[in-house]
Amino acid sequence: MNSDKDFLDDPLFKGLKKFASTSDAQVDLPSDIAYTLRNAGIRSTRQKVVRRSVFTIITASVVLPSLSFAHVLPTPIDNIVKSVVHLVSTPVRVISNVINDPAPTIPAPSGSVTTTPEPATLTPTSEPITPTPTPTPAPTKTLVPQAPAPAPTRTHTETHTETPKTVSPPKPAVGGGEKENEGEGEGEERGIAPTLPKATLPSAPNSKPSIPGGGRSEGHTEGKSSEGEGHDD
């Protein structure tokens, strides 16, 4: 404290202190400052009113609906609150429905038209396709064990469609007899020739002695057997 007092009492500041303590000629408060003070009062009052009203509105908008849901409010006030909530929430619901429902609502009219014919057209087309493969394996199995006489007529028509399938089985079947195997090899070289001699099948029953080649190979080797026989000879 003494050092502070010494500081102020320093002779260096004597003239400066005198200068600082001189009074102003102006005594009245300047008009612009007075005007600002008045305006500040009006402005602060307005701000206070605005702030309080905003706070009240926010509080009421939060509290009243919650009280209404809790069924605490008297009926007339409750009705008013519900009507206001309904009024406020209706546009929001409309907007939310527009936002949430576009997937079901928009495709419903167009999708009903397109979807119904598509399955209708698809199912009939798929049905005729599926049965076709089922009958095809049947003739191959039935034809082979059957008697040679009726078989040729049927195999003619069906082997045309299933030539790749019917040709492959004879290879393992041929292994039953070496002579026929040789005869097959020659017969294959001759290409589709085996089908042509089938027209001459009436002679086939005579070839029963060549059965050792296996039941399967009969149908194929009927024409070939004559050639194989020819080799054997």
């Binding site: 050092s3 502070d4 500081f7 102020l8 320093d10 260096l12 500041f13 003239g15 400066l16 202190k17 005198k18 200068f19 600082a20 303590s21 001189t22 009074s23 102003d24 102006q26 005594v27 009245d28 408060l29 300047p30 612009d32 400052i33 007075a34 600002t36 003070l37 008045r38 500040a40 009062g41 602060s44």
Partner: protein
């Protein structure tokens, strides 16, 4: 119709305690928008505040009257938001004045280009502007110039202490420093000032 408080006799400024209580009451009334009470406060503070601003802006081309006016306008605008006693009000008032001086110096730095030809063409020399309104002895002006030549923190503290007649605690609140740091700054400033004055006197004799 003048308020009785406006008379010098009724202000109670003669005696210390009654003056402080009157000023404290005036501050309370001014916060509610009482124009007369605000006038009392203004009349009490304005002379020293004006001297402080004049001293601080001496040597620069800052318009000190504009700074003082801005300060009071700011106070009038925000006095309703102010909360505190009269001592705190004094600190607040000088803090506003200090900020306005800083703003004015920044504004001047932005507007004035340091090209000599421009200065000659468009602006008057800064000394003319200050000399026009500043009334004081030459010795006082020389001392103020030397105080302003000190580092900013020191000159600020010295001027507030001597011209503004503020206590160390009030200055500490304004400059946002420890009171001990304010004391140190004041004493360092005084020591430097003494040396400068001594050297200048020696130089002038030689």
């Amino acid at each position: 119709m003048r308020d009785p408080k406006q008379d010098g006799s009724s202000l109670g400024i003669s005696s210390g305690n009654s003056e402080n209580s009157d000023l404290a009451n005036s501050l309370i009334a001014a916060r509610t928008g009482d124009e007369m009470a605000f006038a009392v406060i203004w009349r009490h503070h304005n002379p020293r505040l004006s001297r402080f601003v004049q001293s601080k802006t001496y040597g620069s081309d800052i318009d000190f009257e504009e700074v003082i006016s801005d300060t009071w306008l700011n106070v009038a605008k925000d006095i309703r938001k102010f909360k505190g006693d009269f001592s705190e009000f004094t600190s607040w008032l000088y803090a506003i004045a200090r900020n306005r001086i800083i703003d004015a110096s920044r504004k001047r730095d932005r507007t004035i280009r340091p090209k000599e030809d421009l200065e000659e063409a468009f602006w008057l020399p800064s000394s003319l502007n200050v000399e026009k309104d500043f009334e004081a002895d030459e010795s006082v002006k020389a001392l103020i110039a030397q105080i302003n030549a000190l580092p900013d923190a020191q000159s600020e503290v010295v001027l507030m202490r001597v011209v503004g007649d503020l206590s160390v605690e009030e200055i500490a609140k304004i400059v946002k420093k420890n009171p001990n740091a304010v004391r140190v700054l004041a004493h360092r400033g005084l020591a430097t000032l003494r040396e400068n004055v001594k050297s200048s006197k020696g130089g002038s004799r030689e």
